[in-house]
Protein backbone atom coordinates (compact mmCIF):
# COMPACT_ATOMS: atom_id res chain seq x y z
CA UNK A 1 0.00 0.00 0.00
CA UNK A 2 1.19 3.43 -0.76
CA UNK A 3 2.40 5.74 1.93
CA UNK A 4 3.49 9.23 1.32
CA UNK A 5 7.05 8.51 2.34
CA UNK A 6 8.91 5.31 1.58
CA UNK A 7 9.70 3.78 4.95
CA UNK A 8 12.25 1.42 3.50
CA UNK A 9 14.69 4.28 3.14
CA UNK A 10 17.63 4.29 5.56
CA UNK A 11 16.53 4.24 9.17
CA UNK A 12 15.99 7.38 11.13
CA UNK A 13 18.22 7.51 14.17
CA UNK A 14 18.53 9.88 17.07
CA UNK A 15 20.96 12.72 16.58
CA UNK A 16 24.44 11.61 15.69
CA UNK A 17 26.60 10.89 18.65
CA UNK A 18 29.43 9.32 16.82
CA UNK A 19 32.04 11.43 15.06
CA UNK A 20 31.64 9.64 11.74
CA UNK A 21 28.23 11.16 11.24
CA UNK A 22 29.71 14.62 11.60
CA UNK A 23 32.32 14.00 8.94
CA UNK A 24 30.25 14.60 5.84
CA UNK A 25 28.59 17.86 6.87
CA UNK A 26 31.90 19.06 8.25
CA UNK A 27 33.65 18.44 4.96
CA UNK A 28 30.85 20.10 3.03
CA UNK A 29 30.91 23.24 5.12
CA UNK A 30 34.71 23.36 5.14
CA UNK A 31 34.71 23.22 1.35
CA UNK A 32 32.24 26.05 1.12
CA UNK A 33 34.16 28.12 3.65
CA UNK A 34 37.44 27.80 1.81
CA UNK A 35 36.18 28.14 -1.74
CA UNK A 36 36.59 31.92 -2.15
CA UNK A 37 40.26 31.55 -1.30
CA UNK A 38 40.75 28.84 -3.91
CA UNK A 39 38.78 30.73 -6.49
CA UNK A 40 41.52 33.28 -6.76
CA UNK A 41 42.93 30.96 -9.38
CA UNK A 42 40.00 30.78 -11.77
CA UNK A 43 37.44 33.20 -13.20
CA UNK A 44 36.54 34.22 -9.69
CA UNK A 45 33.34 36.14 -9.98
CA UNK A 46 31.66 33.42 -12.03
CA UNK A 47 32.46 30.57 -9.65
CA UNK A 48 31.67 32.73 -6.67
CA UNK A 49 28.27 33.60 -8.11
CA UNK A 50 27.58 29.98 -8.96
CA UNK A 51 28.43 28.68 -5.51
CA UNK A 52 26.56 31.53 -3.87
CA UNK A 53 23.50 30.41 -5.79
CA UNK A 54 24.16 26.84 -4.76
CA UNK A 55 24.12 27.86 -1.12
CA UNK A 56 20.93 29.85 -1.61
CA UNK A 57 19.29 26.86 -3.27
CA UNK A 58 20.59 24.64 -0.48
CA UNK A 59 19.03 26.87 2.15
CA UNK A 60 15.60 26.62 0.56
CA UNK A 61 15.93 22.89 -0.03
CA UNK A 62 17.14 22.27 3.51
CA UNK A 63 14.08 23.96 4.93
CA UNK A 64 11.93 21.73 2.74
CA UNK A 65 13.82 18.70 4.02
CA UNK A 66 12.45 19.48 7.47
CA UNK A 67 8.98 19.03 6.02
CA UNK A 68 9.55 16.13 3.65
CA UNK A 69 12.39 14.28 5.30
CA UNK A 70 11.40 14.66 8.92
CA UNK A 71 7.72 15.47 8.80
CA UNK A 72 6.47 13.43 5.84
CA UNK A 73 4.69 16.52 4.55
CA UNK A 74 5.29 16.61 0.82
CA UNK A 75 4.82 20.26 0.03
CA UNK A 76 4.81 21.04 -3.65
CA UNK A 77 4.49 24.75 -3.17
CA UNK A 78 7.62 25.60 -1.25
CA UNK A 79 9.02 27.86 -3.95
CA UNK A 80 6.27 30.31 -3.05
CA UNK A 81 8.19 31.20 0.10
CA UNK A 82 11.34 31.87 -1.87
CA UNK A 83 9.23 34.19 -3.99
CA UNK A 84 7.89 35.94 -0.90
CA UNK A 85 11.41 36.57 0.37
CA UNK A 86 12.64 37.79 -2.99
CA UNK A 87 9.73 40.11 -3.61
CA UNK A 88 9.88 41.52 -0.09
CA UNK A 89 13.35 42.74 -0.86
CA UNK A 90 12.51 43.96 -4.35
CA UNK A 91 9.27 45.75 -3.51
CA UNK A 92 10.73 47.55 -0.53
CA UNK A 93 13.80 48.42 -2.52
CA UNK A 94 11.68 49.88 -5.31
CA UNK A 95 10.18 52.20 -2.71
CA UNK A 96 13.57 53.27 -1.51
CA UNK A 97 13.68 51.04 1.57
CA UNK A 98 17.00 49.30 1.20
CA UNK A 99 17.84 48.35 4.76
CA UNK A 100 18.56 44.65 4.83
CA UNK A 101 17.06 44.04 8.25
CA UNK A 102 13.81 45.77 7.41
CA UNK A 103 13.57 43.74 4.22
CA UNK A 104 14.38 40.52 6.06
CA UNK A 105 11.90 41.31 8.79
CA UNK A 106 9.20 41.94 6.24
CA UNK A 107 10.00 38.71 4.44
CA UNK A 108 9.80 36.79 7.70
CA UNK A 109 6.52 38.40 8.65
CA UNK A 110 4.83 37.86 5.30
CA UNK A 111 6.07 34.29 5.01
CA UNK A 112 4.92 33.63 8.56
CA UNK A 113 1.40 34.76 7.77
CA UNK A 114 1.27 32.97 4.42
CA UNK A 115 2.61 29.76 5.96
CA UNK A 116 0.21 29.96 8.86
CA UNK A 117 -2.85 30.49 6.72
CA UNK A 118 -2.04 28.09 3.90
CA UNK A 119 -0.57 25.54 6.29
CA UNK A 120 -3.61 25.64 8.53
CA UNK A 121 -5.82 24.80 5.59
CA UNK A 122 -3.48 22.38 3.84
CA UNK A 123 -2.78 20.34 6.95
CA UNK A 124 -6.41 19.50 7.31
CA UNK A 125 -5.79 17.21 4.35
CA UNK A 126 -3.56 14.20 4.00
CA UNK A 127 -1.58 12.33 1.40
CA UNK A 128 -2.22 13.32 -2.21
CA UNK A 129 -4.66 16.01 -1.18
CA UNK A 130 -1.92 17.73 0.76
CA UNK A 131 0.48 17.56 -2.14
CA UNK A 132 -2.05 19.06 -4.48
CA UNK A 133 -3.33 21.73 -2.21
CA UNK A 134 0.20 22.97 -1.51
CA UNK A 135 0.79 22.92 -5.25
CA UNK A 136 -2.29 25.03 -5.77
CA UNK A 137 -1.39 27.55 -3.09
CA UNK A 138 2.02 27.90 -4.65
CA UNK A 139 0.37 28.63 -7.98
CA UNK A 140 -1.84 31.16 -6.34
CA UNK A 141 1.15 33.09 -5.15
CA UNK A 142 2.78 32.80 -8.53
CA UNK A 143 -0.25 34.32 -10.20
CA UNK A 144 -0.28 37.07 -7.63
CA UNK A 145 3.32 37.87 -8.51
CA UNK A 146 2.60 37.95 -12.24
CA UNK A 147 -0.31 40.29 -11.70
CA UNK A 148 1.76 42.86 -9.84
CA UNK A 149 2.14 45.12 -12.82
CA UNK A 150 3.68 47.85 -10.72
CA UNK A 151 6.48 45.50 -9.79
CA UNK A 152 7.27 44.11 -13.17
CA UNK A 153 4.53 41.50 -13.51
CA UNK A 154 5.66 38.66 -15.72
CA UNK A 155 8.92 40.33 -16.64
CA UNK A 156 10.19 40.75 -13.14
CA UNK A 157 11.85 43.63 -11.40
CA UNK A 158 15.44 44.74 -11.18
CA UNK A 159 16.89 45.91 -7.92
CA UNK A 160 18.62 49.26 -7.88
CA UNK A 161 21.05 48.00 -5.30
CA UNK A 162 21.65 45.15 -2.94
CA UNK A 163 20.45 45.41 0.62
CA UNK A 164 22.23 47.76 2.92
CA UNK A 165 23.64 46.30 6.09
CA UNK A 166 23.74 48.85 8.86
CA UNK A 167 23.57 51.52 6.18
CA UNK A 168 26.61 50.22 4.39
CA UNK A 169 26.77 48.92 0.82
CA UNK A 170 29.03 46.13 1.92
CA UNK A 171 26.94 43.47 0.22
CA UNK A 172 27.95 44.89 -3.12
CA UNK A 173 31.14 42.91 -2.72
CA UNK A 174 30.48 39.42 -4.03
CA UNK A 175 32.78 37.81 -1.50
CA UNK A 176 30.98 39.49 1.36
CA UNK A 177 27.65 38.32 -0.02
CA UNK A 178 29.11 34.84 -0.34
CA UNK A 179 30.07 34.72 3.32
CA UNK A 180 26.76 36.18 4.41
CA UNK A 181 25.04 33.36 2.55
CA UNK A 182 27.46 30.88 4.03
CA UNK A 183 26.82 32.17 7.51
CA UNK A 184 23.07 31.96 7.10
CA UNK A 185 23.30 28.49 5.60
CA UNK A 186 25.46 27.28 8.46
CA UNK A 187 23.22 28.95 10.97
CA UNK A 188 20.11 27.44 9.47
CA UNK A 189 21.79 24.03 9.39
CA UNK A 190 22.68 24.19 13.07
CA UNK A 191 19.22 25.47 13.92
CA UNK A 192 17.51 22.70 12.00
CA UNK A 193 19.84 20.07 13.49
CA UNK A 194 18.82 21.26 16.90
CA UNK A 195 15.14 21.36 16.02
CA UNK A 196 15.25 17.83 14.69
CA UNK A 197 16.92 16.49 17.82
CA UNK A 198 14.75 18.45 20.21
CA UNK A 199 11.55 17.37 21.86
CA UNK A 200 9.63 19.07 19.08
CA UNK A 201 11.64 17.31 16.42
CA UNK A 202 11.16 13.96 18.05
CA UNK A 203 7.42 14.42 18.09
CA UNK A 204 7.52 15.48 14.45
CA UNK A 205 9.52 12.41 13.50
CA UNK A 206 7.15 10.26 15.49
CA UNK A 207 4.19 11.71 13.63
CA UNK A 208 5.97 10.85 10.44
CA UNK A 209 6.39 7.22 11.53
CA UNK A 210 2.92 6.63 12.91
CA UNK A 211 0.51 9.51 13.43
CA UNK A 212 -2.18 7.36 15.04
CA UNK A 213 0.27 6.06 17.62
CA UNK A 214 1.31 9.61 18.45
CA UNK A 215 -2.29 10.64 18.92
CA UNK A 216 -2.83 7.65 21.14
CA UNK A 217 -0.16 8.86 23.56
CA UNK A 218 -1.53 12.34 23.70
CA UNK A 219 0.04 14.37 20.88
CA UNK A 220 -2.08 16.43 18.51
CA UNK A 221 -0.21 16.09 15.19
CA UNK A 222 -1.75 19.15 13.59
CA UNK A 223 -0.08 21.77 15.72
CA UNK A 224 3.35 20.22 15.40
CA UNK A 225 3.07 19.90 11.67
CA UNK A 226 1.83 23.45 11.32
CA UNK A 227 4.72 24.74 13.39
CA UNK A 228 7.20 22.86 11.22
CA UNK A 229 5.47 24.21 8.13
CA UNK A 230 5.84 27.77 9.35
CA UNK A 231 9.47 27.33 10.34
CA UNK A 232 10.30 25.84 6.95
CA UNK A 233 8.48 28.59 5.12
CA UNK A 234 10.28 31.33 6.96
CA UNK A 235 13.69 29.84 6.32
CA UNK A 236 12.85 29.53 2.63
CA UNK A 237 11.88 33.20 2.63
CA UNK A 238 15.35 34.05 3.91
CA UNK A 239 16.71 32.14 0.94
CA UNK A 240 14.54 34.32 -1.28
CA UNK A 241 15.98 37.49 0.23
CA UNK A 242 19.46 36.25 -0.54
CA UNK A 243 18.45 35.29 -4.06
CA UNK A 244 17.12 38.76 -4.74
CA UNK A 245 20.41 40.19 -3.59
CA UNK A 246 22.57 37.79 -5.54
CA UNK A 247 20.72 38.20 -8.83
CA UNK A 248 19.75 41.82 -8.22
CA UNK A 249 16.56 40.80 -9.95
CA UNK A 250 13.32 39.11 -9.00
CA UNK A 251 10.73 37.44 -11.13
CA UNK A 252 7.63 35.29 -10.67
CA UNK A 253 9.72 32.47 -12.13
CA UNK A 254 11.26 32.06 -8.67
CA UNK A 255 7.91 30.83 -7.39
CA UNK A 256 6.68 28.43 -10.05
CA UNK A 257 5.67 24.93 -9.18
CA UNK A 258 8.50 23.73 -11.37
CA UNK A 259 10.87 25.44 -8.93
CA UNK A 260 9.05 23.67 -6.09
CA UNK A 261 9.63 20.44 -7.95
CA UNK A 262 13.30 21.32 -8.36
CA UNK A 263 13.58 21.74 -4.59
CA UNK A 264 12.16 18.28 -4.03
CA UNK A 265 14.51 16.88 -6.66
CA UNK A 266 17.45 18.50 -4.90
CA UNK A 267 16.60 16.89 -1.59
CA UNK A 268 16.02 13.47 -3.09
CA UNK A 269 19.22 13.76 -5.07
CA UNK A 270 21.26 14.51 -1.99
CA UNK A 271 19.41 12.23 0.40
CA UNK A 272 16.13 12.89 2.16
CA UNK A 273 16.03 13.42 5.85
CA UNK A 274 19.66 14.32 6.35
CA UNK A 275 19.69 18.12 6.07
CA UNK A 276 23.18 18.18 4.61
CA UNK A 277 21.81 16.05 1.80
CA UNK A 278 20.03 19.17 0.62
CA UNK A 279 23.37 20.93 0.32
CA UNK A 280 24.97 18.08 -1.59
CA UNK A 281 21.90 17.83 -3.80
CA UNK A 282 21.91 21.55 -4.48
CA UNK A 283 25.54 21.40 -5.53
CA UNK A 284 25.10 18.43 -7.83
CA UNK A 285 21.87 19.80 -9.28
CA UNK A 286 23.32 23.21 -10.05
CA UNK A 287 26.62 21.92 -11.38
CA UNK A 288 24.83 19.40 -13.56
CA UNK A 289 22.50 22.05 -14.96
CA UNK A 290 25.42 24.37 -15.56
CA UNK A 291 27.46 21.68 -17.27
CA UNK A 292 24.68 20.35 -19.44
CA UNK A 293 23.53 23.78 -20.55
CA UNK A 294 27.00 24.39 -21.98
CA UNK A 295 26.52 21.51 -24.35
CA UNK A 296 22.99 22.05 -25.46
CA UNK A 297 20.07 24.33 -24.94
CA UNK A 298 17.99 21.18 -24.72
CA UNK A 299 19.67 20.02 -21.53
CA UNK A 300 16.30 19.28 -20.00
CA UNK A 301 16.15 16.31 -22.34
CA UNK A 302 18.89 14.75 -20.23
CA UNK A 303 17.81 16.21 -16.91
CA UNK A 304 14.36 14.68 -17.02
CA UNK A 305 15.52 11.10 -17.48
CA UNK A 306 18.24 11.59 -14.86
CA UNK A 307 15.54 12.52 -12.39
CA UNK A 308 13.49 9.49 -13.34
CA UNK A 309 16.49 7.20 -13.01
CA UNK A 310 17.45 8.64 -9.63
CA UNK A 311 13.95 8.04 -8.36
CA UNK A 312 13.80 4.53 -9.71
CA UNK A 313 17.24 3.36 -8.71
CA UNK A 314 19.08 5.64 -6.30
CA UNK A 315 16.93 5.39 -3.22
CA UNK A 316 19.00 7.18 -0.67
CA UNK A 317 20.30 9.78 -3.04
CA UNK A 318 23.94 10.71 -3.25
CA UNK A 319 24.20 11.13 0.48
CA UNK A 320 23.02 7.56 0.83
CA UNK A 321 25.70 6.42 -1.57
CA UNK A 322 28.31 8.23 0.49
CA UNK A 323 27.24 6.26 3.52
CA UNK A 324 25.51 9.06 5.28
CA UNK A 325 22.63 7.91 7.39
CA UNK A 326 19.98 10.54 8.22
Amino acid sequence: MNQSIDLDAPALAAPARRSRAFALPLIVFALFALLPLAAVLGPQSFILALVTRIMILALAAMSLDLLIGYGAMISFGHAAFVGIGAYSVAILSSHGINDGFVQLGTALLVSFVFALVTGAISLRTKGVYFIMITLAFGQMLFFLATSLAAYGGDDGLSLSSRSLLFGSKILKNDTVLYYVCFGLLLGAYLLLRSVVASRFGRVLRGIRENPVRMEAIGFAPYRYQLTAYVIAGMIAAVSGCLLANQAEFVSPAYATWQRSGDLIFVIVLGGIGSLHGAIIGAAVFSLLAELLSHYTEHWALIFGPILILVVLFARGGIGGLLGSKP
Partner: protein, 306 residues
Amino acid sequence: MTLTLAFVQILNGLQFGLILFLIAAGLTLVFGVMDFINLAHGVQYMVGAYLVAAFTAMTGSFVAGLALALPTALIFGLLLELLIFRHLYDRSHLDQVLATFGVIIFLNQAVKFIWGAAPLSVPIPDALSGAVEIADGMLYPVYRLVIIAVGLAVGLALYLIVNKTKLGMLVRAGASNAAMVSALGVNIRFLFTIVFGVGAMLAGFAGAMVAPILSVEPGMGDNVLILAFVVIVIGGIGSIRGAFIAALLIGLVDTLGRFMAPTLLKMLLDPAAASQIGRAIAPMLIYILMAAVLFFRPSGLFPSKS
Protein backbone atom coordinates in the same frame (compact mmCIF):
# COMPACT_ATOMS: atom_id res chain seq x y z
CA MET B 1 -22.51 44.76 -18.49
CA THR B 2 -25.28 43.36 -20.53
CA LEU B 3 -26.97 40.08 -19.98
CA THR B 4 -25.81 38.75 -23.32
CA LEU B 5 -22.20 39.50 -22.41
CA ALA B 6 -22.68 37.57 -19.22
CA PHE B 7 -24.30 34.76 -21.16
CA VAL B 8 -21.29 34.58 -23.45
CA GLN B 9 -19.02 34.37 -20.44
CA ILE B 10 -21.16 31.61 -19.00
CA LEU B 11 -20.81 29.67 -22.22
CA ASN B 12 -17.07 30.25 -22.15
CA GLY B 13 -16.95 29.07 -18.56
CA LEU B 14 -18.93 25.99 -19.49
CA GLN B 15 -16.61 25.22 -22.36
CA PHE B 16 -13.54 25.70 -20.20
CA GLY B 17 -15.08 23.56 -17.48
CA LEU B 18 -15.88 20.73 -19.85
CA ILE B 19 -12.33 20.67 -21.18
CA LEU B 20 -11.11 20.55 -17.61
CA PHE B 21 -13.51 17.71 -16.97
CA LEU B 22 -12.09 15.65 -19.82
CA ILE B 23 -8.63 16.03 -18.33
CA ALA B 24 -9.67 15.61 -14.74
CA ALA B 25 -11.77 12.50 -15.41
CA GLY B 26 -8.75 10.44 -16.37
CA LEU B 27 -6.69 11.91 -13.58
CA THR B 28 -9.21 11.18 -10.88
CA LEU B 29 -9.69 7.60 -12.00
CA VAL B 30 -5.97 6.95 -12.12
CA PHE B 31 -5.61 8.39 -8.66
CA GLY B 32 -8.64 6.65 -7.34
CA VAL B 33 -8.09 3.20 -8.79
CA MET B 34 -4.32 3.02 -8.88
CA ASP B 35 -3.36 5.44 -6.12
CA PHE B 36 -0.91 6.84 -8.61
CA ILE B 37 -0.07 10.52 -8.72
CA ASN B 38 0.49 11.29 -12.34
CA LEU B 39 1.87 14.77 -12.80
CA ALA B 40 2.55 13.85 -16.41
CA HIS B 41 -1.15 13.84 -17.22
CA GLY B 42 -0.81 17.41 -18.40
CA VAL B 43 1.67 16.39 -21.06
CA GLN B 44 -0.89 13.93 -22.41
CA TYR B 45 -3.05 16.94 -23.06
CA MET B 46 -0.15 18.76 -24.67
CA VAL B 47 0.80 15.76 -26.77
CA GLY B 48 -2.80 15.47 -28.01
CA ALA B 49 -2.65 19.07 -29.14
CA TYR B 50 0.71 18.67 -30.85
CA LEU B 51 -0.34 15.47 -32.55
CA VAL B 52 -3.47 17.00 -33.99
CA ALA B 53 -1.43 20.01 -35.12
CA ALA B 54 1.10 17.76 -36.84
CA PHE B 55 -1.43 15.42 -38.45
CA THR B 56 -3.68 18.25 -39.58
CA ALA B 57 -0.74 19.93 -41.23
CA MET B 58 0.18 16.63 -42.81
CA THR B 59 -3.26 15.68 -44.10
CA GLY B 60 -4.78 19.10 -44.57
CA SER B 61 -7.90 18.03 -42.70
CA PHE B 62 -8.71 18.58 -39.06
CA VAL B 63 -10.96 15.55 -38.92
CA ALA B 64 -8.28 13.33 -40.35
CA GLY B 65 -5.78 14.90 -38.00
CA LEU B 66 -8.04 14.15 -35.05
CA ALA B 67 -8.65 10.60 -36.22
CA LEU B 68 -4.92 9.99 -36.41
CA ALA B 69 -4.04 11.89 -33.27
CA LEU B 70 -6.30 10.00 -30.90
CA PRO B 71 -4.96 6.49 -31.35
CA THR B 72 -1.42 7.90 -31.43
CA ALA B 73 -2.04 9.66 -28.14
CA LEU B 74 -3.37 6.44 -26.70
CA ILE B 75 -0.34 4.48 -27.84
CA PHE B 76 1.92 7.18 -26.49
CA GLY B 77 0.20 7.07 -23.13
CA LEU B 78 0.40 3.30 -22.94
CA LEU B 79 4.07 3.48 -23.87
CA LEU B 80 4.75 5.83 -20.97
CA GLU B 81 2.81 3.48 -18.72
CA LEU B 82 4.80 0.49 -19.84
CA LEU B 83 8.21 2.12 -19.67
CA ILE B 84 7.94 4.24 -16.57
CA PHE B 85 4.66 4.43 -14.68
CA ARG B 86 4.26 0.72 -14.21
CA HIS B 87 7.36 0.71 -12.03
CA LEU B 88 5.94 3.41 -9.82
CA TYR B 89 2.65 1.91 -8.71
CA ASP B 90 4.16 0.38 -5.61
CA ARG B 91 6.40 3.30 -4.81
CA SER B 92 5.71 6.14 -2.43
CA HIS B 93 3.79 9.18 -3.57
CA LEU B 94 6.94 11.21 -3.33
CA ASP B 95 8.69 8.94 -5.82
CA GLN B 96 5.70 9.12 -8.15
CA VAL B 97 5.61 12.90 -7.98
CA LEU B 98 9.28 13.19 -8.77
CA ALA B 99 9.39 10.62 -11.56
CA THR B 100 6.38 12.08 -13.34
CA PHE B 101 7.88 15.52 -12.82
CA GLY B 102 10.92 14.20 -14.69
CA VAL B 103 8.62 13.09 -17.49
CA ILE B 104 7.20 16.59 -17.75
CA ILE B 105 10.63 18.17 -17.89
CA PHE B 106 11.66 15.78 -20.60
CA LEU B 107 8.54 16.03 -22.73
CA ASN B 108 8.24 19.81 -22.54
CA GLN B 109 11.76 19.99 -23.87
CA ALA B 110 11.13 17.24 -26.41
CA VAL B 111 8.28 19.09 -28.11
CA LYS B 112 10.43 22.19 -28.12
CA PHE B 113 13.17 20.16 -29.72
CA ILE B 114 10.91 18.68 -32.36
CA TRP B 115 8.60 21.57 -33.15
CA GLY B 116 10.43 24.56 -31.79
CA ALA B 117 9.37 26.92 -29.04
CA ALA B 118 7.00 29.02 -31.12
CA PRO B 119 3.31 28.20 -30.76
CA LEU B 120 1.74 26.15 -33.50
CA SER B 121 -1.58 27.10 -34.93
CA VAL B 122 -4.26 24.72 -36.00
CA PRO B 123 -6.97 26.06 -38.26
CA ILE B 124 -10.56 25.53 -37.25
CA PRO B 125 -12.17 23.21 -39.77
CA ASP B 126 -14.23 25.21 -42.25
CA ALA B 127 -17.48 23.47 -41.45
CA LEU B 128 -17.14 24.49 -37.85
CA SER B 129 -15.76 27.96 -38.25
CA GLY B 130 -17.93 31.00 -38.06
CA ALA B 131 -20.39 32.02 -35.44
CA VAL B 132 -24.03 31.73 -34.64
CA GLU B 133 -26.28 34.30 -33.14
CA ILE B 134 -27.25 33.15 -29.69
CA ALA B 135 -28.99 36.30 -28.57
CA ASP B 136 -29.75 39.63 -30.19
CA GLY B 137 -26.60 40.85 -31.76
CA MET B 138 -24.32 38.48 -29.86
CA LEU B 139 -22.38 36.02 -31.97
CA TYR B 140 -20.76 32.96 -30.49
CA PRO B 141 -18.20 30.78 -32.27
CA VAL B 142 -19.63 27.53 -33.57
CA TYR B 143 -16.50 25.65 -32.67
CA ARG B 144 -16.82 26.47 -29.01
CA LEU B 145 -20.40 25.23 -29.08
CA VAL B 146 -19.11 22.03 -30.61
CA ILE B 147 -16.65 21.65 -27.76
CA ILE B 148 -19.47 22.11 -25.28
CA ALA B 149 -21.61 19.56 -27.06
CA VAL B 150 -18.80 17.04 -27.35
CA GLY B 151 -17.80 17.58 -23.74
CA LEU B 152 -21.32 16.93 -22.53
CA ALA B 153 -21.62 13.87 -24.73
CA VAL B 154 -18.38 12.40 -23.41
CA GLY B 155 -19.48 13.21 -19.89
CA LEU B 156 -22.72 11.38 -20.44
CA ALA B 157 -20.93 8.44 -22.00
CA LEU B 158 -18.54 8.23 -19.07
CA TYR B 159 -21.39 8.42 -16.63
CA LEU B 160 -23.19 5.60 -18.38
CA ILE B 161 -20.10 3.45 -18.65
CA VAL B 162 -19.02 3.98 -15.07
CA ASN B 163 -22.45 3.57 -13.56
CA LYS B 164 -24.23 1.15 -15.83
CA THR B 165 -21.68 -1.30 -17.11
CA LYS B 166 -19.78 -4.11 -15.47
CA LEU B 167 -16.48 -2.53 -16.39
CA GLY B 168 -17.62 0.67 -14.80
CA MET B 169 -18.59 -1.19 -11.69
CA LEU B 170 -15.12 -2.69 -11.49
CA VAL B 171 -13.62 0.75 -11.89
CA ARG B 172 -15.79 2.17 -9.14
CA ALA B 173 -14.99 -0.77 -6.91
CA GLY B 174 -11.31 -0.35 -7.69
CA ALA B 175 -11.49 3.31 -6.79
CA SER B 176 -13.03 2.38 -3.49
CA ASN B 177 -10.71 -0.50 -2.63
CA ALA B 178 -8.30 -1.82 -5.23
CA ALA B 179 -6.82 -4.52 -3.04
CA MET B 180 -10.23 -5.99 -2.43
CA VAL B 181 -11.09 -6.03 -6.11
CA SER B 182 -7.85 -7.81 -6.84
CA ALA B 183 -8.49 -10.29 -4.06
CA LEU B 184 -11.82 -11.06 -5.64
CA GLY B 185 -9.99 -12.38 -8.66
CA VAL B 186 -10.25 -9.47 -11.03
CA ASN B 187 -7.23 -8.98 -13.23
CA ILE B 188 -6.25 -5.75 -11.67
CA ARG B 189 -3.32 -5.13 -14.02
CA PHE B 190 -5.65 -5.22 -16.98
CA LEU B 191 -8.06 -2.89 -15.22
CA PHE B 192 -5.22 -0.50 -14.49
CA THR B 193 -4.16 -0.48 -18.11
CA ILE B 194 -7.68 0.23 -19.32
CA VAL B 195 -8.19 3.01 -16.82
CA PHE B 196 -4.87 4.53 -17.65
CA GLY B 197 -5.41 4.26 -21.39
CA VAL B 198 -8.86 5.82 -21.26
CA GLY B 199 -7.59 8.63 -19.08
CA ALA B 200 -4.70 9.32 -21.41
CA MET B 201 -6.96 9.35 -24.40
CA LEU B 202 -9.43 11.72 -22.79
CA ALA B 203 -6.66 14.15 -21.97
CA GLY B 204 -5.22 13.85 -25.46
CA PHE B 205 -8.67 14.36 -26.90
CA ALA B 206 -9.15 17.49 -24.81
CA GLY B 207 -5.82 18.81 -26.05
CA ALA B 208 -6.75 18.02 -29.62
CA MET B 209 -10.10 19.77 -29.31
CA VAL B 210 -8.66 22.99 -27.94
CA ALA B 211 -5.75 23.08 -30.36
CA PRO B 212 -7.60 25.31 -32.83
CA ILE B 213 -8.57 27.88 -30.25
CA LEU B 214 -5.57 27.96 -27.92
CA SER B 215 -1.89 28.23 -28.72
CA VAL B 216 -0.18 24.91 -28.96
CA GLU B 217 3.11 25.44 -27.19
CA PRO B 218 5.56 23.71 -24.85
CA GLY B 219 4.34 23.77 -21.30
CA MET B 220 0.70 24.27 -22.22
CA GLY B 221 -0.20 21.27 -20.13
CA ASP B 222 1.36 22.56 -16.95
CA ASN B 223 -1.17 25.16 -15.91
CA VAL B 224 -4.03 22.98 -16.99
CA LEU B 225 -2.64 20.16 -14.90
CA ILE B 226 -2.76 22.22 -11.77
CA LEU B 227 -6.32 23.22 -12.50
CA ALA B 228 -7.17 19.56 -13.06
CA PHE B 229 -5.69 18.84 -9.66
CA VAL B 230 -7.82 21.50 -8.10
CA VAL B 231 -10.82 19.95 -9.81
CA ILE B 232 -10.25 16.49 -8.45
CA VAL B 233 -9.32 17.74 -5.03
CA ILE B 234 -12.57 19.66 -4.83
CA GLY B 235 -14.57 16.93 -6.49
CA GLY B 236 -13.12 14.11 -4.48
CA ILE B 237 -10.52 11.66 -5.72
CA GLY B 238 -11.93 8.73 -7.64
CA SER B 239 -15.27 10.33 -8.38
CA ILE B 240 -16.29 11.08 -11.97
CA ARG B 241 -19.39 12.84 -10.75
CA GLY B 242 -17.26 14.95 -8.44
CA ALA B 243 -14.88 15.76 -11.26
CA PHE B 244 -17.77 16.83 -13.47
CA ILE B 245 -19.34 19.12 -10.94
CA ALA B 246 -16.06 20.55 -9.73
CA ALA B 247 -14.81 21.12 -13.27
CA LEU B 248 -17.90 23.07 -14.24
CA LEU B 249 -17.73 24.97 -11.00
CA ILE B 250 -14.12 25.94 -11.58
CA GLY B 251 -14.68 26.75 -15.23
CA LEU B 252 -17.52 29.06 -14.35
CA VAL B 253 -15.89 30.65 -11.30
CA ASP B 254 -12.67 31.31 -13.14
CA THR B 255 -14.24 32.73 -16.29
CA LEU B 256 -16.97 34.72 -14.60
CA GLY B 257 -14.58 35.79 -11.88
CA ARG B 258 -12.11 37.26 -14.29
CA PHE B 259 -14.94 38.95 -16.11
CA MET B 260 -16.81 40.28 -13.12
CA ALA B 261 -14.18 40.93 -10.49
CA PRO B 262 -13.04 44.30 -11.82
CA THR B 263 -16.66 45.26 -12.46
CA LEU B 264 -17.83 44.36 -8.99
CA LEU B 265 -14.89 46.05 -7.39
CA LYS B 266 -15.63 49.22 -9.35
CA MET B 267 -18.65 49.59 -7.16
CA LEU B 268 -16.39 49.88 -4.14
CA LEU B 269 -13.18 51.42 -5.40
CA ASP B 270 -12.09 53.84 -8.08
CA PRO B 271 -11.79 52.35 -11.59
CA ALA B 272 -8.00 52.17 -11.73
CA ALA B 273 -7.60 50.43 -8.40
CA ALA B 274 -10.59 48.21 -9.07
CA SER B 275 -9.17 47.12 -12.38
CA GLN B 276 -5.76 46.33 -10.92
CA ILE B 277 -6.96 44.54 -7.84
CA GLY B 278 -9.58 42.77 -9.90
CA ARG B 279 -6.98 41.43 -12.28
CA ALA B 280 -4.83 40.32 -9.38
CA ILE B 281 -7.62 38.57 -7.51
CA ALA B 282 -9.29 36.91 -10.50
CA PRO B 283 -6.77 34.10 -11.06
CA MET B 284 -6.69 33.48 -7.33
CA LEU B 285 -10.41 32.91 -7.06
CA ILE B 286 -10.32 29.20 -7.81
CA TYR B 287 -7.65 28.63 -5.22
CA ILE B 288 -9.68 30.48 -2.65
CA LEU B 289 -12.63 28.32 -3.66
CA MET B 290 -10.52 25.21 -3.28
CA ALA B 291 -9.28 26.32 0.13
CA ALA B 292 -12.84 26.96 1.22
CA VAL B 293 -14.09 23.56 0.06
CA LEU B 294 -11.19 21.70 1.65
CA PHE B 295 -11.65 23.55 4.87
CA PHE B 296 -15.09 22.06 5.30
CA ARG B 297 -14.55 18.84 3.41
CA PRO B 298 -10.92 17.75 3.56
CA SER B 299 -11.64 14.85 1.22
CA GLY B 300 -13.52 16.81 -1.38
CA LEU B 301 -17.20 16.89 -2.19
CA PHE B 302 -17.70 13.27 -3.31
CA PRO B 303 -14.84 11.15 -2.01
CA SER B 304 -14.96 7.59 -3.25
CA LYS B 305 -13.17 6.31 -0.19
CA SER B 306 -14.84 7.18 3.09
